[in-house]
Symmetry: C2
Subunit: 284 residues, 2 copies
Amino acid sequence: MKFDKVTIIGLGLIGGSLARALKGSGSVEEVCGVDADRSALKFAVSEGVVHTASAEIEEAVRGAEVVVVATHVGIITEVAKSAAEAVGNGAVITDVGSVKGWIVVEMERSLPEGVSFVGAHPIAGTERSGVRHSDGELFNGKLLIVTPTASTDPGAVEKVSGLWRLAGAEVVPMEPQVHDRIFGFVSHLPHVVAYALINAVAAQDDPPGMMGYSGGGLRDYTRIAESSPEMWRDIVLMNRDNVLSAIKEFKAALEKIERMVESGDSQGLEEEFQKSASAKREGG
Amino acid sequence: MKFDKVTIIGLGLIGGSLARALKGSGSVEEVCGVDADRSALKFAVSEGVVHTASAEIEEAVRGAEVVVVATHVGIITEVAKSAAEAVGNGAVITDVGSVKGWIVVEMERSLPEGVSFVGAHPIAGTERSGVRHSDGELFNGKLLIVTPTASTDPGAVEKVSGLWRLAGAEVVPMEPQVHDRIFGFVSHLPHVVAYALINAVAAQDDPPGMMGYSGGGLRDYTRIAESSPEMWRDIVLMNRDNVLSAIKEFKAALEKIERMVESGDSQGLEEEFQKSASAKREGG
């Protein structure tokens, strides 16, 4: 699939990496980057992350076939609406947000005539952020979940899927609500739990300095809890019901183990722990 | 520090790696390995992990200055007692168990005259196990916690500390009860939580196959939950009170976040998540 112009709003790790991949593919005539941060824009131009750059959405989306909104999740709909107002007839707006239901509903009820919106979520990333860490190989072999609804134009879905395939991603379609339930469990819950665990350990002062002993299992949690507090605040609030239901299920699983520790149920504990090791191997 | 003979009982990842490090240091005349598994013994001899090997504890500990019990934590005291009965006068027995209080108390009330016990816990390891994955550099630059009590012979503590320094470890003395409280929080709790989280996700069948989407945060948990179910059953039961108290503190931290999600407390959530990111940075 070939594109004349693709505009990416938000040159962070995700937006910058997508820009590099699309530019590198040779199948996009013009990759245009937008960012409110002038130093990110300057870097993107001087390092050849994009072909062209602009600080103005209205200017940048002119003539774009696809506009990818890769800003922080909390401002995606606001930015996408501005882009939709400014973009030409027949253009497709898409995003990269970790929550889909809320964004898709909000976009569908506000789209101007002749503009399509297709929700998307690349399952890739690192703890690092910013265009300086962007990497054209970030999405290679990774999943890209695309969340069309009954009212989404199939041609628009094809364009967004084709774009991500240029970056090496494997495209998987999913209903927005199914996406949010799954990622409430496999991504949002693990983050909430990591934050709670680090907070619980850090709050201990008898003895002080426990956080210094991270070699025995804590380090994997600290890595998760390094993610942006603002972003995760927005994600859990935008996916509130699923996150609450995931927390509830997790607490039940934890309390089952807690009761076994209390009663010294050695066999039960081994079975619980074994179940987990098997689930891991099946999930891959 | 130089040693004539050191016997290591249990040639798994930890025992095998210590054997390689001590042999490699050139400061131990004879590193003798013991394992009930003949294929592990054969591997250890043919690959030069140890100087000598035996399947019999009684034979292997003869003439040893230090005996390191590196078996599964659940049988450490049983094995250490056999070694203590067979070893010569003036010898030191030590271990590598993740729980110290219970082991130290149990050993101190059963030691024969003329034999010392010093509890120890190397803070190193990988998800892999077995002598085939052993690595002479595993302890290099890592912590070794040594847990003497008021009745431990200072000379014996020096010997055990010196041995681990030959393997490159940094030796930190700590009371057994302090060790167990700290590691209840920084190691045993993270494992229990990872097991509970993986079990909660794996139990979902709407939609099925959630474990397949591990890229968004779940992967770090599956890594932790890969550890041996038998070993973790023993550890949490041997450190029961500390593990229960850590679970309680963790649940309180989680429920604080849960209430904020419920009430849509955006500022509170950002603060909770920020606290965690800061604690991480301080802990290093």
